[in-house]
């Protein structure tokens, strides 16, 4: 009989361990309901009878209730359900548009042209800036942003800055900034800071007040690993930066990083709602929510604190519509069919127009209708 004391002791020791495991299981229950975009409109060149002149979408830029669309084949404006487009036949210097930024001060539209510098669209006319006629450091422009009077351009040979008042250009490369590599890939310009995603060079921060640079690199300094999840930027092959509510979201082709000025948080495909670590673009909606355009759908971190995600993707090649997977960390809690029928989920661009979300893919554009949208979780 005494022998069974061992069993009782073992059971007593086992209970807290099983409870611990049970807590793991319990952690995948939702702490509140995230908003799910279930109502969608989708647009391709075919479905719009050519009004969307090209449906390989590279960039989206909100302009009040309207949306500017940069594509592989021209510039498009969507306004009140109508489409208007500009191509080289209309004076657009080059059809391939990688970035768009609306200057709220002047009303001008600035375009990053892939291989042809930048253009300013003002009063119905395009003004063309290239390496040959301006101080632009390179014509292969990947991104453009505006901070104050300055237009910042991310290009394949470094960063250019154009002051619209003084008309002076400045260039920044490895000689003027802490750039391990100079291949600027994207820019996020804000009142106080300008962030650059530099391919191979991590994230570069320009402090507007002090006019100084700060670089953020992967602390393990190795391309083939991420040594620790939260030690810093996940990888130096960065693709975009988004700065909102004093929080930096940095996307890479190896996952997502969040930095609040003190702590980093890393997200990979096995520990989060990211369906893939290949993130083309990340658009921060707040300091606790970010929309990630991956090669396998759009992953939305809805609530940072509870690690709640909604990931929109096509579950199979044959799927007629996309599915929203509600997740906590990397665990799916439930799946919800949504009315999005774009034929491919290789997402490239995202933009918020009011409560709506627009996403651009390699073959089509879609609008998620944000009726009754709310941020975070509804508890």
């Amino acid at each position: 009989m005494n022998s069974y004391r061992y069993v009782l002791i073992a059971i007593a020791l086992t209970i807290p361990i099983v409870q611990l495991h049970g807590q793991e299981a319990a952690s995948v229950t939702l702490e509140g309901e995230p908003f799910i975009y279930t109502e969608w409109e989708s647009f391709t060149t075919e479905s719009t009878n050519g009004a969307l002149v090209n449906d390989h979408i590279f960039y989206l830029e909100a302009d009040g209730d309207s949306l500017w669309i940069g594509t592989e084949g021209g510039l498009i404006l969507h306004h009140d359900g109508e489409w208007k487009s500009w191509t080289e036949e209309d004076g657009l210097p080059w059809n391939v548009i990688m970035g768009i930024e609306k200057d709220q001060k002047t009303g001008d539209l600035w375009l990053a042209l892939f291989g042809e510098g930048v253009a300013r669209f003002s009063g119905g006319l395009f003004e063309h800036f290239t390496q040959m006629n301006s101080g632009l450091i390179n014509d292969v422009s990947f991104g453009i942003g505006i901070q104050g009077d300055n237009v910042w351009v991310a290009s394949t040979a470094g960063i250019s800055r154009y002051n619209q008042v003084s008309r002076e250009w400045a260039v920044f490369n490895e000689k003027h900034a802490p750039m391990e590599e100079v291949w600027a890939y994207n820019v996020s310009a804000n009142e106080d800071k300008v962030y650059f995603a530099v391919w191979g060079g991590g994230i570069l921060e320009w402090d507007v007040e002090t006019e100084t640079w700060q670089d953020y690199l992967d602390p393990d300094r190795e391309m083939e690993i991420d040594l620790y999840r939260d030690d810093g930027l996940i990888h130096v092959i960065t693709t975009s930066a988004s700065y909102v509510d004093n929080v930096l979201w940095a996307s890479t082709y190896f996952g997502l990083s969040r930095y609040d000025g003190r702590n980093w948080r890393g997200y990979l495909d096995h520990d989060s709602g990211l369906p893939s670590t290949f993130i083309n673009f990340a658009a921060g909606r707040s300091g606790t929510s970010v929309y990630n355009c991956t090669d396998k759908g759009m992953a939305v971190l809805v609530d940072y604190e509870t690690d709640t995600w909604v990931t929109y993707q096509r579950d199979s090649e044959d799927a007629e519509t996309w599915t929203a997977h509600v997740m906590v960390g990397g665990d799916v809690v439930r799946s919800v069919p949504v009315g999005l029928d774009l034929p491919n989920h290789f997402t490239i661009a995202a933009e918020f127009v009011g409560d709506d979300i627009w996403i651009g893919t390699g073959h089509g554009l879609a609008r998620g209708v944000g009726n009754d949208f709310y941020e975070g979780l509804r508890r």
């Binding site: 069974y4 394949t156 393990d220 391309m223 990979l268």
Partner: protein, 469 residues
Amino acid sequence: MNPKYLAVFLLAASLCVLPLDAMGQVEQTQTDTAAYGLTPEEYRPFSRFENPYKEFFLSLLEYPGYGRHIPEPDSVETVKIGFIGPIMKSVAESYGGPEEVPMRVNQRQVRWDGYGASHLAPLGIKMLQGAQLALEQANQRGGYRGQTPYQMVVMNDNGEWRSSGRAVIDLAYRDSVWAILGTVDGANSHILIRVALKAEVPVMNTADTDPTFVETNIPWVLRNITDDRMMCYLLADFAYKKLGLERVAALRAVNRYGRVNIDEFRDGSTRLGHPLVVELSYQEGDTDFSAQLERIKALDVDAVFTYGNSLESALILRQMRDMGMDQWFLGSDRMVTDELIEIVGPDHGRVVAGYPYDPTSEDPKHLQFVADFRHAFGEEPETYAAHAYDGMKMLIEATERAGLNRALIRDELVAMNPYHGVTGVQIFDAVLSDRSPATLAFLVDGRFEFFSREHVLSDEFEVAPPSNH
């Protein structure tokens, strides 16, 4: 069951259900796959201290995007394949493109036919010749599916980033090529693939041995040449394990090739317990290395390790020997040239370089290629020609199978694994880079001889004892 055993079983079973991260260690997501780059355990970063939270480059790159459904064009006059490589420093458009410059020059001259040569022109011209030969042979067989000739659209990579980036955009959007082959320089290759990623064009790289080139997760890029990661591991194994060297100094080009491609040897030296004694650099075009060599000489090193182009490597070696420095001289494949042999002369001493394949292979495919190349150009092929030939053949074969669709051509390229070409059997890894074994090239009596890893690290392979400097 004995109650004691039952108690032990219960405890063990309860522990087994614990997630690993609850026990204080991070989860390993992919531990059962071979290491990236075939990296030996001792060379893996932090392997003595920690398991990484995530290992990248172990899953085959996918392209899940659009494009495969785009129909083939009704008709094309030619099937265009882009080429970008270092041929000339600059060329006026009125003279035509680089493919129209006669390839009848002494490639070691820095100027010819009125054009300024790129400093990498000897490499780029061989690359162009290899690609041309493959394309011409395809056209002799009738061209694309026996009906349409292939056409190579040649762009010059003059080493300046502006023109290189623009050249790729022209290939992708203005010339509408189906695939691109190129280039040599690491920086320009990175620029090329970022453009290719956005434009969604397959790229075959046959000449850039920068390890980071493929460490970008771009699913449109393949590389069919063994990289400096693998060549550096072999050099480090040979230097430290075979020769027993302890004190190695590095003298490398200050450019990206010298800075980045040396990485794995530098890190490997440290991980084997022999960090480089010193790492000095020089500018491309320098001819006097006495200042750096005097410093290295004073450090009493066992060997000098260099990464740079052929000319500078040759001058460094010549000046070392003139200064009475008879240590081992180790370096990159770029110094395996006739130019180095000529400049250094017969008293070259102990010299070894990494090399991406065996150019003395008796494989019938290789022998046929050498004969064809001699017949076509009246000169010998080398690594850049041979790999470009293989790369262009792969592009053409993929196009034949896929049809005129970039995404499908990409898929067919990925499916060609392994590929038996004139440079041997190429084995592509998850990031689509060739991981076939590197070789070592020893300078013996005024000519380079090539040996496999197995041979040089075996007991049979005898080497002179390390210098007593």
